[in-house]
């Protein structure tokens, strides 16, 4: 839990977290929300009793900046998932295997000032990854981290234990970087805690700071913010994106509370096919009533979600250049 955040005991039941929760929107079932979990925990519920609720969370993080009591709601979920994993290690066996594989791999270091950590989807698309790297200066100035830490991101989301050895192996090459551009929202949040001396930015923020991307964004675009990184630093980023929106005139996937509405396409429950949120329904809700000619996404996972519900072009930030 981050400094200044409080535990579930502080929940007053105000329900503000529900307003931004995609699981609530899909189910209208308070048991599956941060409010429901916190109140149940206050009444003595165990992680096992709340397993369905814990598994349902998409970890978009929108509830956290919405909470007036500053409860660490993301840490609450990852902590509860870790507790479930301790009780039933088989839940995270595949994640452990993935981390063991990474321990066996050989990764080269880099002397570049900027280190790019793509998320799993971007890492799997070498052409697009190359474009992203060029956006930040190309060879010599930026290097794509050979160890992208996607297994660690998955472990964070699943509540699997990350061994000190694996974490150290992941972090050592990153400590020399001055600037770290991170594609995975879960990692953005965690890396800020692990590497406080390194300037860590989400891919979306870093890209929209470049003239190449800003010049190609249009007022008729619907710009889709990746929610996890945004909500991890919402107090600061709400101002950044508001200024961007004003400068460009485009619309964004923000609700009235200025929280980023997620499609939830990239979350673990969706990957496992067990999500209570219909990704297409979320995409439709984001588009409802909005006028736009093109959708620009920060997260590659969102492309499929939007192309399924609109005929308008859907592109990733890197495809703008």
């Amino acid at each position: 839990m981050a400094a200044g955040q409080r535990g579930y005991e502080a929940c007053t039941g105000c329900s503000l977290c529900l307003l931004a929760c995609p699981v609530w929107r899909a189910t209208r079932d308070i048991r599956l929300t941060p409010h429901g979990r916190a109140r149940a925990l206050q009444c003595g519920a165990t992680a096992d009793e709340l397993a369905a609720s814990i598994d349902a969370c998409t970890l978009c993080g929108a509830c956290e900046p919405a909470c007036p009591q500053d409860i660490g709601l993301v840490a609450m979920i990852t902590g509860l998932r870790a507790e479930l994993a301790r009780h039933a290690p088989a839940r995270v066996a595949s994640v452990r295997d993935r981390m063991n594989d990474r321990m066996a791999a050989r990764f080269a270091g880099s002397a570049a000032e900027i280190r790019l950590l793509p998320d799993r989807a971007l890492a799997a698309d070498p052409v697009l990854l190359g474009r992203v790297a060029r956006l930040f200066g190309g060879d010599g100035k930026v290097s794509v981290a050979a160890d992208d830490g996607s297994d660690i991101a998955l472990a964070l989301e699943a509540g699997a234990e990350i061994s000190e050895a694996r974490l150290e192996r992941f972090l050592v090459p990153l400590r020399g970087a001055r600037r770290l551009i991170v594609g995975d929202g879960m990692l953005v949040r965690a890396l800020r805690g692990w590497l406080p001396a390194v300037r860590i930015e989400s891919l979306g923020v870093a890209a929209t700071c470049t003239a190449a991307v800003r010049d190609r964004l249009r007022a008729s675009d619907l710009y889709v913010i990746e929610p996890r990184a945004y909500h991890a630093d919402q107090e600061r980023l709400v101002k950044y994106y508001d200024a961007l929106r004003l400068a460009l005139g485009c619309s964004m996937n923000l609700d009235l509370q200025r929280l980023a509405i997620p499609t939830t396409a990239g979350c673990l429950p969706a990957a496992l096919g067990r999500s209570s949120v219909d990704v297409r329904d979320q995409a439709r809700w984001i588009l409802e009533g909005r006028e736009f000619a093109r959708i620009v996404v920060e997260d590659l996972n969102d492309i499929a979600a939007y192309t399924a519900v609109t005929d308008k072009p859907v592109v990733h930030l890197a495809q703008l250049i």
């Binding site: 105000c14 503000l16 009591q69 609700d255 009235l256």
Partner: protein, 518 residues
């Protein structure tokens, strides 16, 4: 505390509030818990009808208290509302098995009105989808468990907005229609309950009925401002309007009386679209005035601005500095005000919501501030709802009670336009019987923060505020639950008995929200 020596055989004074509780016995304890007779059979009937009944204690505990955090009760089971038919099945079974049903929306009651002391808790937020928007007719049909904010999210995509709603994101539409709902535009547009055009209601005996001013009007009269006694509102058709951001102005006063007089001046003359008072104790009194259009703002500036006696922020800061320089023993209060201003004011001026003096999404701004700066484990908000003539006295006397009990508190005052054609709706409600054209409400909210205060003390505070209402002949917004001891004193036996007779006819087993009013 200086506790005097008590001679044997002498009944000691009440140290909490010696002059409170004028003839009212303390009512701060929960209502008697329903004994559970027949619960198993009842739950079985529901399950056989395909209705999920949550009985796991920790999950029932989610609903153990309300926003007030002073009344605690556990339902035997929780049902999440999914359809009017399901609610009707539940109510019919509840009548047959005499099982109490407590309907709950946002759970933002403060006197335990939405807390179930046994029986079944019906979580209406399960029915919270917008069903249809008529852009030409400017109406919306929605399931009634929806939060006002969720409704606003949907309406905004059509560039529409609701008319008036509580300054709270998570009040539900159904709950609000049952009790009133005030906003800073209520002086012009009336309370939220007066915005309803028609309702789908499930009666306590399980009939699904559509009602409005013309269709089943008697039921409509009973359900609107009916404190949940005469049916569960499952759907509502509400008026809506085109969305407009606000042009906001704040005027600062050091006198409550002057600020209220100016508020009433503006309301009487329809000089603004929004008006309300929010205070930091009685030291900094802020009159909020806002407009939907440049034209209305310009008209105000021309005709009314100069007549207001409020000051700008800098001027009032100077006056406060002078006051505390002469009253150095109140340094603690001065520091509190300074710190409060430092934290609170930026929240009302966040750049992402306010630009060039125009505020976007006012409910988000206000509601975030409400929860962040006034929210806590306990929230006690006694209120007085008075006619225009009695309002100043009611507020001044209530303010004196606040000063007596709490170091820090806030007052929130607004006008409420009344509808003569809805006079029948107002019987036994927050609208005072002697109010004509416009009523006024004041909420007295101690700032408790993370403290936990004994219920006895809070109850004494509330009683002392409510006693003012009895003396002045006002009404209250929150007269249910733990404050229901005041219902007969304020409204009189004849009126209460009349409504009780209606209730007995409508709800023979007296199962629906049974401990709230009667």
């Amino acid at each position: 505390m200086d506790i005097p020596v008590i001679e044997p055989g002498v009944i000691p004074p009440d140290h909490v509030a010696p002059d409170a509780l004028q003839g009212i016995r303390r009512q701060q304890t929960n209502p008697k818990r329903w004994d559970g007779a027949g619960w198993t059979e009842f739950a079985e009937v529901l399950r056989s009808a395909g209705i999920e009944v949550v009985e796991q204690p920790s999950l029932r505990g989610t609903f153990a208290t309300d926003a007030g955090g002073t009344a605690y009760g556990m339902p035997h089971g929780v049902v999440i509302a999914r359809s009017a038919v399901q609610v009707a099945d539940l109510l019919r079974a509840a009548q047959a098995h005499r099982v109490p049903v407590t309907a709950r929306g946002g759970g933002l009651t403060t006197e335990g009105e939405s807390v179930a002391f046994g029986g079944v808790l019906l979580d209406m937020t399960g029915m919270s989808r917008v069903l249809a928007i008529d852009r030409e007719g400017l109406t919306v049909r929605t399931e009634a468990g929806i939060f006002w904010h969720s409704l606003a999210e949907v309406l905004r995509r059509q560039n529409l907005d609701y008319l008036s709603a509580p300054l709270n994101l998570t009040s539900s539409v159904g709950g609000t229609l049952g009790v009133g709902g005030i906003d800073v535009n209520s002086a012009r547009l009336g309370c939220s309950a007066d915005q309803a055009i028609s309702l789908q209601v499930v009666t306590p005996t399980g009939e699904i009925v559509e009602c409005s001013d013309t269709q089943n009007p008697e039921l409509f009269q009973r359900v609107i401002l009916g404190y949940g006694q005469f049916g569960v509102i499952t759907e509502a058709t509400l008026k809506v309007r085109p969305y407009t951001p606000l042009r906001l102005h704040y005027f600062y006063y050091t006198s409550l009386r002057t600020a209220i007089e100016d508020l009433q001046l503006l309301d009487r003359n329809d000089a603004s679209d929004y008006s309300g008072i929010l205070t930091m104790m009685d030291k900094v009194v802020n009159l909020l005035v806002a407009f939907d259009s440049d034209a209305r703002e310009a008209a105000f500036m021309t005709a009314w601005r100069a007549r207001l006696r409020g000051h700008g922020e800098a001027a009032v800061a100077l006056r406060m500095a002078a006051y505390y320089a002469l009253h150095p023993w109140r340094l603690g209060e001065a520091l509190f005000l300074y710190e409060r201003r430092r934290k609170l004011f930026p929240e009302f001026r966040r750049a992402e919501y306010t630009r060039g003096g125009v505020m976007f999404d006012r409910t988000v701004v206000f509601s975030r501030a409400v929860w962040k700066f006034w929210g806590g484990r306990q929230m006690v908000i006694p209120d007085l709802a008075a006619s225009e003539e009695k309002f100043v006295e009611a507020v001044l006397r209530g303010n004196a009670v606040c000063r007596k009990y709490f170091r820090h508190y806030t007052l929130y005052c607004v006008g409420i336009k009344l509808r003569e054609d809805h006079r029948a709706h107002y019987e036994l409600s927050c609208v005072p019987p002697d109010a004509r054209e416009r009523a006024y409400g004041c909420e007295f909210e101690p700032m408790i923060g993370d403290q936990v205060i004994a219920r006895d003390r809070l109850q004494s505070f509330k009683n002392e505020i409510y006693d003012i209402g009895v003396e002045l002949g006002t009404s209250y917004y929150r007269f249910g639950g733990m404050m229901k001891g005041y219902v007969r004193r304020v409204f009189g036996d004849a009126l209460v008995d009349k409504h009780l007779a209606h209730k007995r006819r409508a709800d023979p087993a007296m199962i629906l929200n049974r401990d709230v009013i009667f």
